[in-house]
């Protein structure tokens, strides 16, 4: 049986990948995707802790994951529309060029 540390390590790796992507990519969409990945890593943790925790019947981990997924969906929707709005203004999705607050 897989020990919990396996899931946690996977989650840590996922988190780091997401972080690396969010830090290194220039495209705003990809940064957003990186953040989504980090959220997913957290979700994996929730599920793993729920499964391995002492009270799986309480469903708290699952609930947390469900809420987190909904928040992620909302975040993606708003984030992507912001990117679209910014793109309409500055004609770029490149974060390196998106450094002005002016329209």
């Amino acid at each position: 049986m897989t020990p919990m540390s396996g899931y946690l390590l996977l989650s840590a790796l996922l988190f780091s990948i997401g972080l690396a992507g969010a830090l290194t990519r220039r495209n705003a969409i990809l940064v957003l995707i990186g953040i989504e990945l980090m959220l997913n890593a957290a979700n994996l943790n929730f599920i793993a802790f729920w499964r391995y925790g002492p009270h799986p019947e309480a469903l708290t981990g699952i609930m947390f994951a469900i809420f987190s997924i909904s928040v992620a969906a909302a975040e993606a929707a708003v984030g992507l529309s912001i990117i679209l709005a910014v793109y309409r203004h500055s004609k770029t999705t490149d974060l390196d060029q998106m450094n002005s607050m002016k329209g």
Partner: protein
Amino acid sequence: MTITFLLLAATTITGTAAAMSLKNLVHCVLALTLGLVSLAALYLQLGAQFVGFTQILVYVGAVAILAAFAIMMTRSAEPAVLTGSSSFRVSGALIALVVFAVLGWAVWSGTGALAVLGPEPEAPVNEIGVALMHRFVLPLEIIGLLLTAALIGAGILAMDETRRTK
């Protein structure tokens, strides 16, 4: 470590790593989908059927498509705009590495207590529903509010500006 877990972990990591490193944005989104689907499979393996399916529904059905749409609409996938990494390439990767090292160390040194796997827990859908309607009704309503706000906000943001000002 079961083989299934290893396989799924491998696809997850491959998919997400590819999503974060490929040049073509559409490929990134497709790789991301792969990673997220295998993550959903991991949830299934952990006995969280509902979450797994929700993961697929939300991430593949909505987030990935949305991202693809955004890519299309911002023309980020055209060869001329294919973007590489930002100027933070090295430092970012380094920081991520350090984060992983620290987290890994933390995991490695601190999960002895919970390493025992209990019996397969029951998480039937109705119980999730019941819990949502009773214990978690306040968060549920807040999430509902948040989603509504996000929906409206996204709509307004994405609306054509000329139309918005009219």
